[in-house]
Each structure stands twice: as structure tokens, then as C-alpha cells.
């Protein structure tokens, strides 16, 4: 009995230690989250407006002289995956990868991973990557996004890929983060097929100054950079929120575990006392 008590006691100690760690991680995540959330929230309207403006342009577009406005016929899809740098964030990274696999449906692809986990994932799956230079999602700045955008535009023009999709995690609220795929290039991909059919067949003409291909050549890299930056901000906030929730749950589980273990310990202690008393009484009767 005594050995059982000791075992339970060590178990309690170790669970307590783990709880301390998860609680500390939760606190770290929530303090970082506050900043990341602010950044994501200031960025969000820009992301929305940018995407909506481009969507409208794609809907009304009748010009196909620019490389960015016509289908290239290249099958290959490029995925930009914005994930986390570290684990212990619940299903955050896995949900992202699952969504990407679902969307890809075994078609050929190249990947531009941002963050350590996506990079590791691509290596494991031996996907072809455009670059693995962006290892820390938290450190990606606006100018990094412009570098990425330039790289992507270059690869697009070379015909390495024909479609560009952005896989990131939308920050819905503190408690819910939803992985999402956004069509980015070419512009016809942006047209919402359902609403497009309802629309009157005559399209509104758009005036491009000085001419469509110059305008798109100048705008598309900026659009990409803006889109990526906003997605990075949102993904980062989502990651921290996911980690905070995961750690919160872990702390609660540990508390529950300690409670049951305490019960077990007390029971063991009581039974050892009872046993001792029985032994003493038995011994006294012998006399």
C-alpha cells in the first residue's frame, strides 16, 4: 500500500509540473495574442477591400492582353501555405494541411510555405517548393511580402504554375479560427461562378490607364504583397488564439487529473491507516 501511495504522489507532482508549463504557455500566448490581434484587425479591412476590388475588376474585365488576366493553361497550382512556427496549438497546423490536400485533390502542385511547420510538412511530403526562406511567420514584414510577391510573379510568368491559391487561417474570434483557401491568380479565378451567371450578359467596361497590361503589371505584385501580408497577420493571430485555447484546455485537464489523483491518494492513505489499526487490534487481542 505504501508504494502505491508514493506512486500516486509522484504522479500528482508530475501533472502539477505539466500544468505549470501549460499555464505559462497560455499566458505567453494571450499576451502575444493581444498585439497580433490588433495588427490583424487593422489589416483586415484592407485585405477585404483589396480582394473585393480585384474581384469586381475580374467580374467586369473584358481584356485578356495581360498575362494576369487570361488562363495560362498550365495545370500546376501553386499554394502559399501560411502556418505556424511551433506546435502545441491544437489542430491549427493540421487543419490547414488537411484543407490544402482536400483542395488539391491529388493534382500537381508547387508550394510556397511560410512558417516552420509548413516547411517541415513540404519536406516530409517532398513537395516542390519555390523557396524555403521564410521560416518564421512572426518575422515576416511588409517588405518580405513584396519579395515574395516578386518571386511569385516571376514564377508565374515563367509558367511554373497556372493558378495561385492562398491557404491561411481566418481569425473569426478568440474561440474560432477557420482555415480558408483564397483564389489569387489569374484574375478569372476570382470570378464567383454563381453570381456571374445571374449577372446580365453585358459586362460593364473598365477604362485602363494607360493600357491594361501596364496597369496589371504594376498592380498585381502590389495586390499579391498586400494579400500575403494581411493573411500573415491573420494567421499569426489565429495561431496564438489556437495555442491559447489548446493550453487552456490542457490546464483544465491537468486540474481535473490532479483532483482524481488526490482522491486516489486519500483513499490509499485511509486504507493503509485502517489496515494498520486492524493489525494493531489483532496484535492486542493476541496478548
Amino acid at each position: 500500500m505504501a508504494s502505491n501511495m508514493k506512486a500516486v504522489k509522484t504522479r500528482i507532482k508530475s501533472v502539477q509540473n505539466t500544468m505549470q508549463i501549460t499555464r505559462a504557455m497560455e499566458l505567453v500566448a494571450s499576451s502575444k495574442l493581444r498585439k497580433a490581434k490588433e495588427r490583424a484587425e487593422t489589416c483586415k479591412p484592407y485585405f477585404r477591400e483589396l480582394h473585393r476590388a480585384l474581384e469586381e475588376i475580374a467580374n467586369g474585365n473584358t481584356d485578356f492582353t495581360s498575362e494576369y488576366t487570361k488562363e495560362t493553361g498550365v495545370e500546376q497550382t501553386c499554394y502559399i501555405i501560411i502556418g505556424g512556427d511551433r506546435g502545441l496549438a491544437g489542430g491549427y497546423n493540421n487543419n490547414l494541411f488537411k484543407l490544402m490536400e482536400e483542395h488539391r485533390a491529388e493534382k500537381p502542385c508547387v508550394v510556397l510555405p511560410i512558417g516552420k511547420k509548413p516547411i517541415e510538412y513540404c519536406r516530409r511530403k517532398s513537395y516542390r517548393t519555390l523557396t524555403e526562406a521564410f521560416e518564421l511567420t512572426a518575422d515576416v514584414s511588409v517588405s518580405d511580402c513584396f519579395t515574395i510577391a516578386k518571386l511569385l510573379c516571376g514564377a508565374y510568368r515563367e509558367g511554373i504554375y497556372g493558378h495561385l491559391e492562398l491557404v491561411y487561417t481566418r481569425f473569426q474570434s478568440m474561440l474560432s479560427q477557420i482555415p480558408d483557401v483564397v483564389n489569387v491568380l489569374p484574375l478569372p479565378d476570382l470570378i464567383d461562378r454563381e453570381t456571374a451567371e445571374k449577372r446580365e450578359p453585358v459586362r460593364r467596361l473598365i477604362e485602363y490607364d494607360p493600357d491594361p497590361s501596364t496597369v496589371f503589371d504594376a498592380i498585381v505584385p502590389e495586390y499579391l504583397a498586400g494579400l500575403i501580408y494581411s493573411a500573415v497577420c491573420e494567421s499569426l493571430a489565429s495561431e496564438l488564439a489556437a495555442r491559447r485555447n489548446a493550453m487552456d484546455n490542457a490546464t483544465k485537464n491537468a486540474e481535473e487529473m490532479i483532483e482524481t489523483l488526490n482522491l486516489q491518494y486519500n483513499r490509499a492513505r485511509q486504507s493503509s491507516i485502517t489496515q494498520e489499526i486492524t493489525e494493531i487490534i489483532a496484535g492486542a487481542e493476541e496478548l
Binding site: Y46, E49, I206, E207, P210, T214, I219
Partner: protein, 134 residues
């Protein structure tokens, strides 16, 4: 005057949303002004002074660099990379940036990429100073 809906958004947030009479900014080909009922229009923004005239006639200027401006179905989206209201421009910082860039350009001996970045920095600081001092 007729007014129209304008939204100005940068990665730093949605900076303006409301009815305006006129938007003036510098595109890649030169200055342009947009009034209400403009046809659907799209162009890329260069770098230079921009201003908007609000519905009540007040004028607000800003430094506006990069990005795009679109007019679609009566709503104008101005989505620059940088948009700084005249009153928000840090004069000292712009001045310092200009001097630093000037010095580096005068020294020379840079590779192409660095030269381009420094030159862009110089141009941006000039835009800021121009707006602030106008």
C-alpha cells in the same frame, strides 16, 4: 457638387471611408482627378501628393505611394501601399531619411538592388517633404 463613396485602405488599416467630392492623386502616368459618376476605371498609383475634397469642401492632403486606384460602379477604392495624411507626416524623420539617402547616393559604389532601394527611399522622402511643406 455631386459626391461619391471613397474608401482608402492600406495595410495599416482602413484610413478613410465616406463621401467625397473629388480625389486627386498621381498615377504611373501623371496626376489624375476623379469626380462623381466617373466611368469604371483602374490604374496603378505612382508616388506623389494626393488630396481629397470632402463633401463639405474641406481639402485634406496626403503623401500617397504605390498601390492602385479603382472606380467601380460608383465606388472608388484607393488602395495605396503608403498613405500618410499631411498632419501625420514626421518632418524630422523624412528629412533625416532624405539626408541619409542623399549621402549614400553621393558616395556611390552600391550594387543595382541597393541603389534602387536607396533611390526609392530618396524619392519617398522627397514626396513626404513636398506634401508636408506644401
Amino acid at each position: 457638387m455631386n459626391t461619391f463613396q471613397l474608401k482608402i485602405g492600406t495595410p495599416d488599416g482602413l484610413l478613410f471611408e465616406g463621401e467625397v467630392e473629388r480625389v486627386v492623386c498621381r498615377s504611373i502616368t501623371g496626376d489624375l482627378a476623379i469626380l462623381a459618376n466617373h466611368t469604371n476605371y483602374l490604374t496603378a498609383i505612382g508616388e506623389g501628393e494626393a488630396h481629397i475634397v470632402l463633401a463639405d469642401g474641406t481639402k485634406r492632403s496626403a503623401a500617397c505611394i504605390g498601390g492602385m486606384i479603382s472606380m467601380m460602379n460608383g465606388t472608388c477604392h484607393l488602395l495605396p501601399t503608403t498613405w500618410e495624411w499631411k498632419e501625420d507626416i514626421d518632418l524630422q524623420r523624412a528629412q533625416a531619411a532624405k539626408e541619409r539617402a542623399e549621402k549614400m547616393l553621393a558616395q556611390g559604389g552600391m550594387d543595382d538592388a541597393t541603389y534602387k532601394t536607396v533611390e526609392a527611399k530618396f524619392r519617398r522622402s522627397m514626396v513626404r517633404l513636398g506634401v508636408k511643406n506644401s
